[in-house]
């Protein structure tokens, strides 16, 4: 696949060590032509943001599998704004909350926090990539 010229930062936020999904996401995004910058597991908001600045990223895709994403992502959008990444796309997916919660509520809470797209558990990365291409204007 040829490069589509877009750079995305991916990683697993917080004290979360789930590495397999992270590798799959990197693999699929790369094969779809994205320039993937992977900050890896156990990454802080600052790790994502610093990487996005240096690499001039178009989007940040946050993964979380251990249920604490809501805490880990507090203030993420505000920090992006502070760092000059004003219009950067923010996506999040995985098991982002604990327990059986209504996903519509969860989605709304994360959108309020400034995430452009929020994915429920079990959604495949291919779904996210469709949205990403649309949001970035890749045909």
């Amino acid at each position: 696949m040829n490069s589509n010229g877009k750079t995305v930062v991916i990683g697993v936020i917080g004290a979360d060590v789930h590495a397999v999904g992270n590798k799959i996401i990197e693999h699929v995004l790369t094969s779809e032509g994205f320039n993937v910058v992977n900050v890896g597991v156990m990454s802080s908001q600052e790790d994502f943001i610093n990487a996005a600045i240096e690499t001039n990223a178009d989007a940040i895709l946050v993964s979380s599998l251990y249920g604490h994403a809501e805490l880990d992502c507090q203030g993420f959008r505000e920090k992006c704004n502070e760092a000059g990444l004003t219009n950067i796309l923010l996506y999040i997916g995985g098991n982002i909350v604990v327990g059986k919660q209504d996903f519509a509520d969860v989605e709304e809470r994360f959108k309020k926090m400034g995430f452009n797209r929020v994915y429920a558990p079990g959604v495949r990365i291919e779904e996210g990539i469709k949205d990403l291409k649309k949001d970035l204007g890749i045909v």
Binding site: A15, V39, G40, V41, M42, I53, E54, T55, N56
Partner: protein, 461 residues
């Protein structure tokens, strides 16, 4: 007739000569005299050379080559510019330190007019401009190139940033009639460090431009080349000693501690990967040959800064005298002071212990504990040096000490600071003949000879 190399270190205080019998791989003689960079660098050299000549038979020795390194006239002064402090700013700083430079200051993000003024008044020799991964951010490095082109004309610049900006930067600097060179990006991808090309460019500019501006022209005519700044020669020696050559093995991972009057340098030659399982390596990649310089830890000029950095309590752990601050101030004011009585010697050794401890704390990597739902997880930042095989001491206070081992032991792993990854049980060696920088020079021509001499002369206590 014995064929010999004359290796010269134009140091900040002393000009040191080492005469090496290259055939038999031995040191014939060494000598030193005060460096005379203010008047004529060759005065000090000639004095040292006369002293040297008294130690060998000139009819039997033929000097076939003379090589030099220099940290005279303040050493090689640089500033580095990057984008994000933890990323390209840190990467460019590491590259400059590895090239033997004194990094006066680092700058991040877009330069302001006030910062440009500060650079102009800081008398730097070289500016390193970086920022952005390849294909990454272009805005900041272009802004900074413009700012530099508008304001700074006379300082050589090395550009080692996002290569996608090079065409534009070329236009900006060409239009301004600027002295600049391009090299590979110091951080081509996120957290990937690429210091060697930058180090080479710094060395080239040092040889071409800096020698002249430091009043060392005359020395350059007499010898076959001032190849590099002194700290770069020490690092080169460490590299050869650790890794070996194409013909023979080196001795493995090692750390060099060099305590001087103004600074304490630590060089580590090691990958520094985690030595225990289940540790997550974070942050910018570390260079195999890493040098850090502590400008606030020194025996003379920086004795007061050391006092400030460590606090009186820490010094008192090693020497219990009432007038610690006064003694530090005296050393700061008398940089040529040589301790004679027991108390002064003990005090110097106490300062050296503090310098070693703090410098290693800053050089070595550390662990951060993260409490997760699946238990404690450790993140490692920097190098894990716990299993480093050798700890080598150099610098006047160590070389002349009666118990250098006790000084260097302060740089070891301590259970009171369990997260700092300092060496646990290294073999301690001392550079008694003060040959490390000379061997770094010799290694350029004759790496095997340099390696064999180091193996022979840098010995266990």
């Amino acid at each position: 007739m014995i064929e010999a190399y004359l290796l010269i270190d134009f140091g900040s205080t002393y000009t040191k000569l080492t005469l090496v019998d290259v055939g038999n791989e031995r040191i014939i003689a060494t000598a030193k005299a005060i460096t005379t960079v203010e008047t004529n660098i060759m005065e000090g050299f000639n004095q040292a050379y006369q002293l040297l000549c008294e130690k060998f038979d000139r009819n039997e020795v033929k000097i076939v080559k003379k090589l030099a390194c220099s940290s005279a006239a303040g050493g090689l002064k640089m500033i580095t510019i990057g984008l994000v402090p933890e990323l390209t700013v840190e990467a460019s700083k590491r590259a400059a330190l590895g090239a033997g430079a004194r990094v006066l200051k680092t700058y991040s993000f877009e330069l302001t007019n006030a910062e440009i003024q500060e650079i102009l008044s800081s008398k730097v020799d070289i500016i390193l401009l970086s920022g952005g991964t390849d294909g990454g951010n272009t805005k900041t490095i272009l802004h900074n190139a413009h700012k530099i082109a508008e304001n700074i004309k006379h300082i050589p610049i090395i550009v080692a940033g996002n290569k996608c900006c090079y065409d534009d930067i070329k236009t900006i600097f060409d239009d301004a009639g600027f002295n600049y060179v391009f090299t590979e990006n110091v951080m081509p991808r996120l957290n990937v460090l690429n210091v060697v090309p930058v180090r080479e460019k710094i060395r080239e500019i040092f040889m071409k431009n800096i020698i002249k501006s430091k009043g060392m022209d005359e020395a350059n005519n007499y010898i076959d080349g001032i190849l590099m700044p002194t700290p770069a020669a020490v690092l080169k020696a460490g590299e050869i000693l650790s890794l070996g050559t194409s013909k023979q093995d080196g001795i493995g991972d090692l750390i060099i501690v060099d305590i001087g009057g103004a600074t304490t340098d630590v060089h580590s030659l090691a990958d520094g990967y985690p030595t225990k399982a289940g540790i997550n390596l974070k942050g910018l990649q570390e260079p195999f040959a890493k040098r850090t310089v502590e400008g606030d830890l020194g025996m003379r000029y920086s004795a007061l800064a050391l006092y400030e950095a460590s606090g009186e309590k820490l010094i008192r752990e090693y020497v219990d005298v009432p007038d610690i601050k006064e003694k530090c101030a005296y050393r700061h004011d008398h940089i040529n002071f040589v301790p004679k009585d027991e108390l002064d010697i003990a005090f110097d050794e106490a300062l050296a212990k503090v310098a070693t401890r703090l410098a290693l704390n800053r050089h070595a990597g550390y662990l951060e504990v993260v409490y997760t739902p699946i238990g404690d997880i450790f993140n490692q930042y920097g190098k894990d040096l716990m299993e480093a095989k050798y700890l080598i001491g150099t610098g006047g206070v160590i070389v002349h000490s009666n118990n250098p081992e006790n000084i260097l032991k302060e740089g070891l792993y301590s259970s009171s600071e369990p997260t700092i990854l300092k060496p646990k049980h290294p073999i301690i060696k001392i550079d008694y003949e003060y040959i490390l920088s000379a061997m770094g020079l010799l290694a350029f021509d004759l790496p095997d000879t340099a390696l064999n001499i180091m193996k022979k002369y840098i010995v266990e206590i």
